[in-house]
């Protein structure tokens, strides 16, 4: 059942992105930014976490889930550190994902050659 929920909710979020691409001609960079920012604000007002609790990876793997992680991180950090947490919380929460992408991409750039065009 967890897998079906993950499939349906994750797929539905991707459909939303696809409709944006087809209907608005937004570039994919803008859609990625929009989805993360949307996730941050939905997370901030507490609307996204219930979706994560319901659909697991279906809600946390798409980019709004990354935004939700940032929002949760900044709120936890404000609880822990006070005002300075506003500055540190977002990056702290997303550090693992960003550094994994940077590290693996750097190694990939060392190992792989660009495709001939």
């Amino acid at each position: 059942m967890d897998y079906i929920k993950a499939f349906i909710i994750g797929g539905a979020i991707c459909i939303l992105g696809q409709i944006l691409i087809d209907k608005t001609k937004l570039t994919s960079a803008r859609i990625l930014v929009a989805f993360v920012v949307l996730g941050v604000f939905l997370g901030g007002i507490g609307l996204y976490q219930p979706l994560v609790d319901f659909a697991g990876a279906g809600a946390s793997v798409p980019l709004p889930g990354f935004g939700n992680l940032l929002a949760r991180g900044v709120m936890e950090e404000v609880d822990r550190m006070g005002f300075i947490g506003i500055l540190t919380g977002g990056l702290r929460a997303s550090a693992a994902g960003i550094m994994a992408a940077v590290l693996f991409s750097f190694v990939a750039a060392l190992v792989f050659e660009p495709k001939a065009k």
Partner: protein, 145 residues
């Protein structure tokens, strides 16, 4: 049905934008859903190995990013994006692809301004606006909590 080539062409034109969007959405749903379901499997695996809940989330993200970068390096993630559009772009794997693809492509411009700078071509804006909006959330939370 009798119609000239031109009439047929007009009809195709009229019908195709929407049916194309529907087809795109089905492909996005299928591929995006599959990636998330795979992620769900990774959650279960990490849970079975005894990782805490926060740790599971991190391990799943790291694993998906690793796989997406590998597939990008092999030149195959592009094909997935061409086929599934947002289905491949919206999951965290799409973010990883957006970091790895320019890093590899701009290797020829050197490791500083090529790999180092171009890596953030799309990830940069995502991180900038993601973290800035997290600060807005943090600021509001600070005063209303």
């Amino acid at each position: 049905m009798n119609m000239s080539k031109k009439e047929y062409g007009d009809m195709v034109k009229k019908a195709s934008p929407n049916s194309k969007i529907v087809a795109n959405c089905i492909k996005a749903f299928a591929v995006g859903g599959t990636i998330c379901t795979f992620g769900q499997g990774l959650y279960a695996l990490c849970g079975a190995l005894g990782a805490s809940r926060d740790m599971q989330g991190m391990l799943v993200a790291i694993s998906l990013i690793f796989l997406a970068v590998l597939v990008t390096g092999l030149g195959k993630y592009d094909d997935l994006v061409k086929f599934a559009g947002a289905g491949a772009g919206v999951p965290i794997t799409g973010f990883a692809n957006a970091v790895a693809a320019p890093a590899i492509e701009f290797k020829k411009e050197g490791y500083i301004m090529g790999v180092g700078a171009k890596m953030f071509l799309i990830a940069g804006p995502v991180i900038v606006y993601g973290t800035l909006s997290s600060m807005i959330v943090g600021l509001i939370y600070y005063f209303v909590r």
